[in-house]
């Protein structure tokens, strides 16, 4: 028992140090111009193998690793197993519009998770994944000086993002039916800067919005056959409360003047939509796993709007495939998992009635780290594209690498042997 406590303590301290690391890295979390809308670009990458499977997993039944896409699956953590997952991602994003094009590399901590069994048929997990990332710099935004025919040009930049610390519980109601409950603590801050110059005067404002909120979710998994599972998830709508801190300075006649210094105000809250998902997975010939997900996020009903964009209902279709030559082979090379996937997303944002849709092609590999456990080194590469160049939108092409250490530790087994 002492040992368990020590391990949990270790993990919590690890969590804290990682979140510090995230903060330190916050300059380069993402580099998508689209992240200026809403809470930023909503993170798709997940934990473990689903990054190689087109981000599918709602209907994926697994007893060997963490599946963060459906809390019901936590019911399947085996006895004496303790799963860890630590991931980092790196993204190269090339974005262009009719006029310009720019490429950027960013680096991101992607997740920290662990899962364990509480009792027979009841498993739990704590995961921390980025919910959204903000990182953009746009220059030369022209706006009219009201009362004249002249324009001023401003530069905007944003940085930050929200994290999702999620507590999952999975319970096996009957042998082939599992129910999951998740509670997400969403928190984080987004800093937005704008500056411009008019004649000899300069103005700069920095607004930092701190968001926090709780979101509940449910998940179900039902095994249709021994090798076929159907799953569904539900994320309830919630409202994130925001507080705004503003700092504004200007320079008049060569003198810097503080206009506002850390004025705190209630920012407008942000509504998260109802999200439902359904997924199906099946295993063929013991070595081929297929997984398909469909998600619908009812952004339209949140009735929020951005200055130029509006929120629309989003559909995500995803498909993934994993091949393993032999699960039980003693030869490591036979136990390597090969993955591929595809993900299409019609976008939750419409700018000038044009939806910002996108797709991802993913591929991945899972390398076993030992023979006695299910520890894997998961690597994935994804190519994605978003938006289109039609003098309105910005098109993004991004290459994403993820590295996940999905580890299993076996507890109490030694004692058992003794």
């Amino acid at each position: 028992m002492m040992k368990l406590k020590t391990k949990i303590l270790l993990f919590i301290s690890g969590l804290i140090s990682i979140s510090t690391f995230v903060r330190a890295q916050s300059e380069g979390l993402t580099s998508s111009p689209y992240s200026l809308y809403g809470l930023g670009v909503i993170n798709q990458t997940s934990i473990g193998r689903s990054n190689g499977l087109g981000y599918t997993g709602i209907g994926l039944k697994t007893e060997t690793e963490i599946n963060n896409l459906n809390p019901a699956n936590f019911a399947l953590v085996p006895q004496n197993s303790f799963f860890y997952d630590i991931g980092v991602t790196s993204e190269y994003n090339n974005y262009s519009n009719a006029g310009t094009s720019e490429g950027r590399t960013s680096l991101n901590f992607s997740n920290f998770a662990f899962a364990f069994r509480i009792t027979e048929g009841l498993g739990a997990g704590i995961t921390m994944v980025p919910y959204s990332d903000v990182g953009y710099t746009l220059v030369g935004i022209q706006s009219n000086i009201e009362g004249t025919t002249e324009f001023f040009e401003s530069n905007v930049a944003g940085v930050g993002g929200l994290s999702d610390l999620r507590l999952n519980l999975g319970y096996e109601i009957v042998d082939n039916l599992r129910l999951g409950l998740s509670t997400s603590f969403l928190f984080g801050s987004i800093e937005e800067n704008e500056d411009f110059q008019i004649t000899s005067s300069y103005f700069q404002s920095t607004e930092t919005t701190n968001y926090r909120g709780i979101r509940l979710g449910f998940g179900l998994q039902y095994d249709l056959l021994e090798n076929m599972t159907i799953g569904s998830t539900l994320q309830f709508p919630t409202v994130l409360e925001g507080t705004l801190e503003r700092y504004a300075t200007k320079n008049l006649d060569g003198v810097d003047i503080i206009v506002e210094d850390n004025t705190t105000a209630d920012a407008s809250s942000f509504t998260m939509p109802l999200e439902v998902g359904i997924g199906l997975s099946g295993t063929l010939y013991k070595s081929l796993t297929l997984s398909a997900d469909y998600k619908k996020n009812y952004w339209g009903t949140t009735e929020q709007s951005e200055n130029l964009g509006s929120y629309v209902d989003q559909d995500i279709y995803a498909f993934g495939l994993e091949y393993i030559r032999s699960r039980d082979s003693y030869k490591l090379s036979h136990r390597i998992r090969y993955r591929a996937g595809f993900n299409y997303d019609n976008g939750y944002l419409a700018i000038g009635n044009t939806r910002v849709n996108g797709f991802n092609l993913t591929t991945g590999i899972g390398i076993p780290l030992s023979t006695g456990t299910n520890s894997l080194l998961n690597l994935s590469y994804s190519y994605g594209s978003k938006g289109q160049i039609q003098n309105v939108l910005v098109k993004e092409d991004y290459h994403l690498l993820t590295l996940n250490l999905s580890l299993e530790d076996l507890w109490f087994r030694k004692r058992k042997i003794n």
Partner: protein, 446 residues
């Protein structure tokens, strides 16, 4: 065995986590701040509104200082002209002379004496007309009773008869030197005193010759001309000669305008007579002639101390605009009254800005300059542009009304006689306006 493997990996974890980012960070050459990505204007827009407002009340009025210290003038001003608005403008100059030496050889003989005045390029009004300079010998020393500075309103008596007189057509741009022959009796008198060593210092000289006044002709209506004060440019010269072996050897002594003694025994007497009915009401510096009561005009005349006073009594009404905002720029556009200036009654390129207190006493000169914008002169669109951003900012953050005001005067206002007429805030077509650039960074949500 197997557990140990895992523990090995776990032990390596921190280094893996740290190394992985570093590898990629090394590839990340451009910092996020260095972006030059120009998103289309349809992609996003500024979160900040910028408005330009020109409806803020500008309250202009005319004030007249009781007097100006003109013993600190940088030039001699002499001349007279009749101005349609400001009346008869006249400047005379009074000063003491300073001999460069007091010794004359006993063998020498007096030749002549003359006044030399070099034009210093300053002029006002019509220089094609003839001016007269009358030189008078003063009856009293050029000194205020209390040993103070001398003001434009000062006056000293002088002897009736001219020491010399000259009518001339000024050519100020070519910086001519005028030569005015003075009466021989003055020359002989000084010559003798020096030769006989009756005068050996300035005090003795001043008792003998108290100074001179340069007066414009009684009937002149031409221009007011500036002459240099410098010793090498303007002086009285006493010529004498001594018989040599073959020919006479000429010599001279210069008497320069004394600006080195303290208090300075020099000043310009600048006066106006019969100005328009509005300016006549300005008998005390605390009287403010509102533009509204002077056909929406305000006046400026240097030399005599007429100035345009400016206040922005309702400046804080800018905060009536909904939302949180701040000013980014403030430009006052002062429009000279049409037909109030011409090729003779010229507009200068700039005006200086001073601060006056509630009693209209000048407290300081501000660093602002109102600059004449002639870009659209051909369309009769000519105005003084005065950037006042930091002054307006100060007004906006000041809680208490201090009664302070801005005052416009030409730079070097104690050495010139420039005059200006400016439109007020209520002229139907060509008003003086304050253009404020105001940015709203937080809209009020209602």
């Amino acid at each position: 065995m197997k557990r140990e493997t895992i523990h090995k990996v776990l032990r390596l974890l921190p280094s893996i986590i740290i190394l992985f980012p570093m590898v990629f960070a090394a590839c990340d050459e451009d910092a996020i701040d260095s972006s030059e990505f120009v998103a289309g204007e349809v992609f996003t827009e500024s979160n900040i509104r910028v408005i330009q407002i020109d409806t803020i009340t500008v309250e202009t009025s005319t004030v007249k200082f009781d007097s100006l210290i003109t013993s600190q003038s940088s030039r001699v001003l002499v001349g007279k002209y009749v101005d349609p608005e400001f009346g008869t403008v006249r400047s005379a100059s009074y000063f003491e002379l300073l001999p460069t030496t007091y010794t004359i050889d006993s063998e020498a003989e007096f030749d002549s004496i003359a006044m030399y005045l070099k034009l210093d390029k300053y002029y006002y009004n019509d220089t094609l007309k003839q001016n007269t300079i009358q030189i008078k010998e003063l009856n009293e020393a050029v000194k205020a009773y209390n040993g103070d500075d001398l003001y434009n309103t000062g006056s000293f008596t002088y002897k009736e008869e001219d020491l010399g007189t000259l009518s001339y057509t000024p050519r100020p741009i070519s910086s001519d030197s005028l030569e005015i022959r003075l009466s021989d009796s003055l020359g002989i008198d000084i010559f003798k005193e020096f030769q006989e060593k009756s005068i050996t210092n300035l005090a003795e000289f001043n008792v003998h010759f108290k100074g001179m006044a340069l007066l414009p002709g009684e009937t002149d209506d031409g221009s007011i001309i500036g002459f240099s004060l410098a010793a090498e440019n303007s002086y009285m010269r006493l010529y004498f000669s001594t018989a040599g072996e073959t020919e006479r050897l000429s010599n001279y002594i210069d008497f320069t305008i004394n600006t080195t003694s303290s208090p300075t025994p020099f000043f310009n007497q600048i006066t106006t007579e019969d100005p328009n009915e509005y300016l006549k009401t300005l008998t005390d510096k605390e009287i403010e002639l509102k533009s509204a009561n002077a056909e929406d005009r305000s006046f400026i005349q240097s030399g005599v101390g007429i100035a345009t006073r400016i206040q922005f009594p309702h400046i804080k009404s800018i905060y009536d605009i909904p939302g949180e905002g701040t000013i980014l720029n403030a430009v006052l556009k002062l429009k000279p009254t049409a037909q109030s200036f011409d090729d003779h009654l010229i507009l200068r390129d700039s005006l200086s800005v001073y601060l006056v207190d509630v009693n209209n006493d000048l407290t300081e000169q501000l660093s602002y300059i109102a600059v004449l914008n002639r870009d659209n002169q051909e369309f009769n669109d000519i105005y003084y542009e005065l950037s006042l951003s930091s002054y307006i900012e100060k007004l906006l953050v000041t809680e208490r009304y201090t009664g302070e005001a801005l005052v416009l005067l030409p730079d070097n206002y104690n050495s010139t006689v420039d005059r200006f007429i400016l439109n007020g805030n209520n002229s139907s077509d060509y008003s003086t306006t304050l253009e404020l650039t105001y940015s709203i960074y937080d809209e009020v949500e209602n």
